[in-house]
């Protein structure tokens, strides 16, 4: 098992404080470190009071969309007539993102504690933690932690179950995830109805990301004002966030930063910059589904929800993919398109056909058989794939293509004009 990098002085360690400390994984070890104190406090509070604290903290969903967590919880029916459910999204499959895995393997009780608190806030008696099938090690660690906490009677009547996925990125989409728990194909559902009214098994449901829930216990123990104060730029982005950095940096890994931290400093100070002799070319700051930044945009980007939007991209899941000048952007964008084509659930024509055709055209260009009109064709396709489908997987495929052509057009044109050696065979 890989160990996390050494903490950097510029990190703010809240979620990652115990990464690398195996004792923190045990129930006793977690309690010794102040764990389950937040859950004890929560049990003395009314559900609405917990939700209010989370609202006040400014915590926003860390799964990609950045939706305010307290507000989401407040959508659940107050007068309970049916069973309520919580779904914990541990499907983490967005290329560039590997933070939830680290939370589960080092601090499983942080997630379980946050889960119990959220269950109380939304009055759920059952929670499903949906862990992607490939995460064999995090699953085993979570199962052990859950068994220890349950044996200690930590959760009273609450039932928390682990549910193992079986290889499908789309099951990270909230309604697909619910279908998958119900024993169905993981097709996203048309919304409305929204999960708070009609979720898993047709019952009121809230779904949250692993990192979102792991942030809840410290908010309770330290107070929402403490959390809200951690903000370096825009007050609408509060607290800390794990940024998973991968690709061409010297020190990849998970770095926990206060919201608003400069992307440039993350890459060049904390991650040790590029390899010797290499320069930064491009960066995708929020997982593969968000637009690519060129070097100048990367160097100007602040890491919070608004800062990313200001540079024409999104904070997404906080998966930071770094490309140096050795990267072939056409090939890598093709790889991303292939990912979406592979993962499309194929319900929507624009997505099923669009992701497949985008991949085919990019492959053709890389095989030296591109046509002068191909770039416009790709942009046309992308436009048809944006804002028109049941879920945003289709839009996610278009994002790197459109931004890639805009910012690295010359590289595409070189393949098409025969100035670059084909890297694929037709």
């Amino acid at each position: 098992m890989g160990y996390p990098h050494k903490p950097h002085a510029k990190e703010t360690k809240v979620l990652s404080k115990y990464f690398g400390d195996p004792e923190a994984r045990t129930y006793k070890g977690w309690v010794k470190r102040g764990g389950y104190e937040a859950w004890r406090q929560a049990q003395t509070l009314a559900p609405a009071a917990i939700t209010d604290l989370v609202k006040e903290s400014g915590l926003r969903g860390r799964g990609g969309a950045g939706f305010p967590t307290g507000l989401k919880w407040s959508f659940m029916p107050k007068d309970k007539k049916k069973p309520h459910y919580l779904c914990v999204n541990a499907d983490e499959s967005e290329p560039g993102t590997f933070k939830d895995r680290e939370i589960m393997r080092w601090t499983p009780h942080a997630l379980l504690e946050g889960t119990a608190i959220a269950m109380r806030a939304i009055q759920a008696e059952v929670a499903y933690v949906y862990i992607r099938g490939e995460f064999t090690e995090p699953y085993a660690i979570m199962a052990q932690a859950l068994a220890e906490a349950t044996a200690a009677g930590a959760f009273g009547d609450l039932k928390i179950h682990l549910h193992r996925g079986a290889g499908a990125y789309i099951c990270g989409e909230e309604t697909a995830l619910m279908n998958s728990i119900e024993g169905k194909r993981g097709n996203p559902r048309i919304k409305p109805p929204f999960p708070a009214a009609f979720g898993v098994f047709g019952m009121p449901t809230t779904i949250n990301n692993v990192e979102t829930l792991a942030a809840v216990p410290p908010i309770l123990t330290n107070g929402p004002a403490w959390y809200k104060k951690m903000s370096l730029s825009n007050p609408k982005s509060t607290g800390t966030k794990l940024f998973s950095v991968c690709g061409h940096v010297q020190k990849p890994g998970n770095y926990e930063l206060t919201m608003g931290f400069p992307l440039k400093d993350l890459l060049f100070e904390l991650c040790g910059g590029m390899r010797p002799g290499r320069t930064l070319k491009a960066c995708i700051p929020g997982g593969s589904s968000v637009p690519i930044l060129d070097r100048a945009e990367t160097e100007a980007c602040l890491l919070d929800y608004e800062g990313a939007v200001e540079r024409g991209t999104m904070l997404g899941s906080g998966g930071v993919i770094v490309f140096d000048d050795s990267a072939d952007m056409v090939y890598q964008i093709m790889r991303l398109a292939r990912f979406y084509a592979h993962e499309s659930c194929a319900q929507c024509t624009q997505c099923r056909e669009g992701t497949a055709w985008t991949t085919k055209i990019l492959e053709r260009i890389l095989a030296g058989q591109g046509k002068a009109t191909d770039l416009d064709l790709l942009l046309d396709l992308s436009e048809n794939m944006t804002g028109k489908t049941i879920c945003v997987l289709s839009d996610s495929c278009a994002a790197p293509v459109v931004s890639g052509i805009k910012k690295f057009r010359g590289e595409f044109e070189d393949y098409i004009a025969g100035k670059r050696k084909p890297v694929l065979v037709a």
């Binding site: 099938g133 090690e137 549910h163 079986a166 194909r185 690709g247 890994g253 993919i321």
Partner: protein, 173 residues
Amino acid sequence: MSASARPTHDAATEPYQPVFAGKVLEELQSLLGRYPTKQGALLPALWLVQRQRGWISDRDMTEVAAVLGLTPAYVKGVVTFYTMYHQHPVGQNFVQVCTTSPCNICGAEDVVRALLQATGAKELGATSPDGRWTVIEVECLGACGFATPVLINDDFIESVSPEKVPDLVKRYR
């Protein structure tokens, strides 16, 4: 965790031995208690089948359908949606290598080549002549900072480079 035993059955010559009997049936029963519908236990039930058999045959799907009150066609529809369920026998060691962009730019395709060579599997998706190895490329394994991650059976191995492949393969001989 190590490679699980992979008994297979030949539908033509042997009578069908149910998966859900004895201990495995007990496991299924405890799973059923976790979901408000029987259908909810479908994914975990399929995992049990794959653990016991190494793959999921049509006959197994029929058994799962009967146990959960579903139709075989429905079960098949679900099995085919999820890439981790094997609908055919695979090599004793099933190797999944991530080649999505973040790992790709860190040399994942070289790792694939090294694995194909060291295992004798020759071709992606094909099983080596000795039946021991199947190597496939997969999309992001959620460990992009540890390029290149490789999943061998249930063992998740981080930071594999072509140089490390021969030793890694030896460990599973």
